[in-house]
């Protein structure tokens, strides 16, 4: 295989919000390469609809302290409060800075950044919903992603588009660089650097029904896991309450923020029963479970497996001005005008709260004692700081990508002089080439698509919103079978250029790894907290489980450790909404 070598101070994997925000900081200190398996503006961040949380107080009184409290409570008290406090107080300058860069936020009549309500965001510590989400209609991610990309071009960040990272090289406990495949040529490229930032996004594609884009397959997490580095709190995977029935495409929580309500088959506003104060704007874990309960108890629409999101009572101007995108795709995909008919919805796999453990500076942790891997950083959805704990609040992910993306870049600049340029040893390159050759030459009866469907089915049926020990055990066994079947894989495409079958096989290999680590984490945690709900342990158990799970791959299988939660201001209390 042809190989080329590049040297940069910083190499960033991913051109979503986290990667781009990090690049804008790191470029102030040295050379920066951003690698992405997609053209930058195709990154999943562009799909974010609803908004970014910041207590600007433009529409009504708000306070970062309330944002801090809501995030802690939303996280079911598993978020680390020092990090959450930092994020919520940084939110205001972060959003103002975006505005100065050119993000076309929607505006109030006076021309200030407009804000709307979102799930779990309240005033006066939980009293009632507050307008905190800063938005650009229902295309917030698109508006911010394009703007950051423009800024990165302006600041001469170098882009390597459609380069798929196959290995993140950590040797002697230090980050050395990354190995990537250029899709257009089929060549391998080695990027040696002083710092590596993983900003590769989530992994919703391990589930069958998801709001996530096709590329959110999580291979970078698995690549680190395979090297013995830990993954944190993987058991917490958020299901968003309102995905379009059967399609999984997201209807933003902003739709409920603008006044939309959920109705069951009897036409009842059932959230009033589950969350008397916040109702339809309770946090997502609560609403997703409520919807599925209604369905399980026979109160879906016509007894079927969905409920309605009703926007028909809203002023049509609101749909037109603030929710144009969702209105348009309801019309396109369902032939339904949300101004006239309710939208059929069901929870959809949406967001990974867990991921690569980092500290507040974005440094990747190697252990629960806080020791880290010099030169290795992670930010965005792939990382776990942890600001979302057991359940993320809407609008806090974009905030997380931006705040900690920037922190990562800042820390790199601070440390560049002490970091040395990495070296990728030949055995790492050989290993990558050997795996590609295995994929291209292996003979057997298994197809990528069949195995991927099987994986997604297992995760959807046994590891989604409601979990049991039995189901999780079965899932683990079935995943082991899948792993064996993977050895029997045979590709039809043997070519080198844009071989999508081979790329899917690579992603699948890592998705099985990640799925296994997730199921294992879910088995370990014998309580229910946030998005992790165990029917056999339905209560939250702070005495035994107020701690983060770290899972590791060892030579004898997966192992785990625990890390204490940082609690500063808000002591865990019962969580009612």
């Amino acid at each position: 295989m042809n190989t080329q070598r590049h040297r940069f101070d910083t190499v960033i994997i991913g051109s979503g919000l986290a990667g781009l925000r990090a690049s804008l900081e790191a470029i102030k200190g040295g050379s920066v390469a951003v690698l992405s398996k997609l053209y930058p503006t195709r990154s999943h961040s562009t799909a974010a609809q609803g908004g970014i949380g910041a207590a600007l107080g433009n529409e009504e009184p708000d306070d970062p302290e309330w944002h801090f409290y809501d995030t802690v409570k939303g996280s079911d008290f598993l978020g680390d409060q020092d990090a959450i406090e930092y994020m919520c107080y940084s939110a205001i300058p972060t959003v103002i800075e975006l505005e100065h860069m050119g993000v076309p936020f929607s505006r109030t009549p006076e021309g200030k950044i407009a804000q709307r309500r979102f799930g779990g965001h309240t005033k006066y510590f939980g009293a009632e919903p507050v307008r905190r989400a800063c938005y650009s209609a229902d295309r917030t991610g698109h508006a911010v992603l394009h703007c950051l990309y423009e800024q990165a071009l302006k600041n001469r960040v170098q882009f390597f588009d459609e380069f798929q990272v196959l290995d993140i090289v950590v040797e002697n406990g230090v980050a050395q660089g990354v190995i990537a495949l250029e899709l257009k040529s089929g060549d391998l490229h080695l990027f040696e650097s002083k710092a590596v930032v993983v900003a590769s996004g989530g992994f919703g594609k391990i589930f069958k029904v998801t709001s996530n884009a096709f590329a959110t397959t999580g291979e970078c997490l698995s690549i680190l896991f395979e090297q013995g580095l830990p993954l944190e709190d993987l058991e917490f995977f958020q299901f968003h309450p309102t995905g379009l029935y059967k399609l999984g495409i997201l209807i933003t929580e902003g739709a409920r923020g603008e006044g939309g309500v959920l109705l069951n088959g009897k036409g009842e506003r059932f959230m009033e029963r589950y969350a008397p104060t916040l109702k339809d704007l309770a946090p997502r874990d609560v609403v997703a479970r409520a919807i599925l309960r209604e369905i399980m108890e026979g109160r879906g629409i016509d007894g079927k497996d969905y409920v309605h999101l009703d926007l028909t009572h809203l002023d049509p101007k609101i749909l037109e001005k603030r929710l144009p995108e969702i209105s348009s795709f309801c019309k396109i995909y369902l032939g339904l005008d949300p101004a006239l008919s309710p939208i059929p919805v069901v929870p959809t796999a949406h967001y990974a709260m867990g991921g690569i453990p980092t500290d507040k500076k974005g440094r990747v942790l190697r252990d629960v004692d806080g020791s880290y891997v010099p030169g290795l950083y992670a930010a965005g959805e792939c990382a776990c700081v942890s600001v979302h704990g057991a359940n993320r609040l809407g609008c806090n992910s974009l905030l997380d990508t931006l705040v900690f993306g920037r922190e990562t870049g800042t820390d790199i600049n601070r440390n560049l002089k002490d970091l040395s340029l990495g070296k990728i040893p030949p055995h790492r390159v050989d290993k990558v080439i050997a795996f590609l050759q295995f994929l291209r030459s292996n003979k057997g009866k298994e197809r990528v698509a069949t195995l991927r469907d099987a994986l997604q089915g297992i995760m959807m049926n046994k590891v989604s919103v409601f979990r049991t020990r039995e189901g999780l055990f079965e899932a683990l066994e079935e995943l082991q079978v899948l792993r064996d079947r993977f050895q029997e894989i045979e590709l039809m495409d043997k070519s080198g250029i844009f071989n999508q079958e081979m790329l899917s096989a690579l992603e699948l290999y890592h998705m099985i790894n990640l799925a296994e680590a997730l199921v294992f984490s879910a088995l370990v945690r014998e309580e229910s907290r946030g998005a992790h709900y165990r029917e056999d342990f339905p209560e939250r158990d702070d005495v035994n489980w107020l701690k983060h799970t770290f899972v590791y791959k060892t030579s004898s299988g997966i192992d785990y450790k625990f890390k204490p939660v940082v609690i500063t201001k808000f002591k865990p209390t019962e969580r009612t909404f």
Binding site: L38, R42, G102, R107, R139, H142, A143, F214, Y333
Partner: protein, 239 residues
Amino acid sequence: MSPSKLYLFKVKRYRPNLDDRPFWQSYEISLSSFDRVLDGLIKIQDQLDPTLAFRKSCAHGICGSCAMKINGVNRLACQTLVKDLPTLIEIEPLPKLPIIKDLVVDMSPFFEKYEKILPYLINNEPPPERERIQNPNDQEKILEAITCIQCGCCTTSCPTFWTNDKYLGPSSLLKAYRFIYDNRDNASLERLQKIIDEMGLLHCHLALNCLKACPKGINIPAHIIKLKKFALKKALRRK
């Protein structure tokens, strides 16, 4: 779900290092009336022919990955329902861009154009402590332009672009508009001059193909006409 129906997908293919020139390959698949052309392509890739290559990401018309020519019209595969097409569906790559493989074209010539128009907000005044004010009327001017997803449907449908690959094309002109009419930007004239110098504004002959091609329904010609009038008013010409 609705009953399914058989569709014939005729796909223009090209496999680098194997084919001298593109050729047509047909696939027969059954799809429901809710399925999109993208679902059809995925089904082909999963069940019939994993060697077929095409781009996809968001699957709901917001990322711009899946632009291709479907029954003679540039559009997004993820936003085109098969029920709205005849049962014979012909799919080709976007025109006039180098083909890498099958439906995957090299978009770099497209993106290079956009880099020429200073595609970022320029405002060298020290920023205020809070946001810059943009009242809703000011924002209204750019509201359509900011929804562009840079899929390339418009530029590759433009006859001027077909005959002159240096032409900036509707997509870049729209991007220029987005900044020129942003009240927070201070480089309107500089950018306007740039799109005149760079084989841009003056080369648009209003063939209006872009009007039909835009999957986001942006009235691109209206934006370009506004730019032309602005240039006229400022008496700007090519340097």
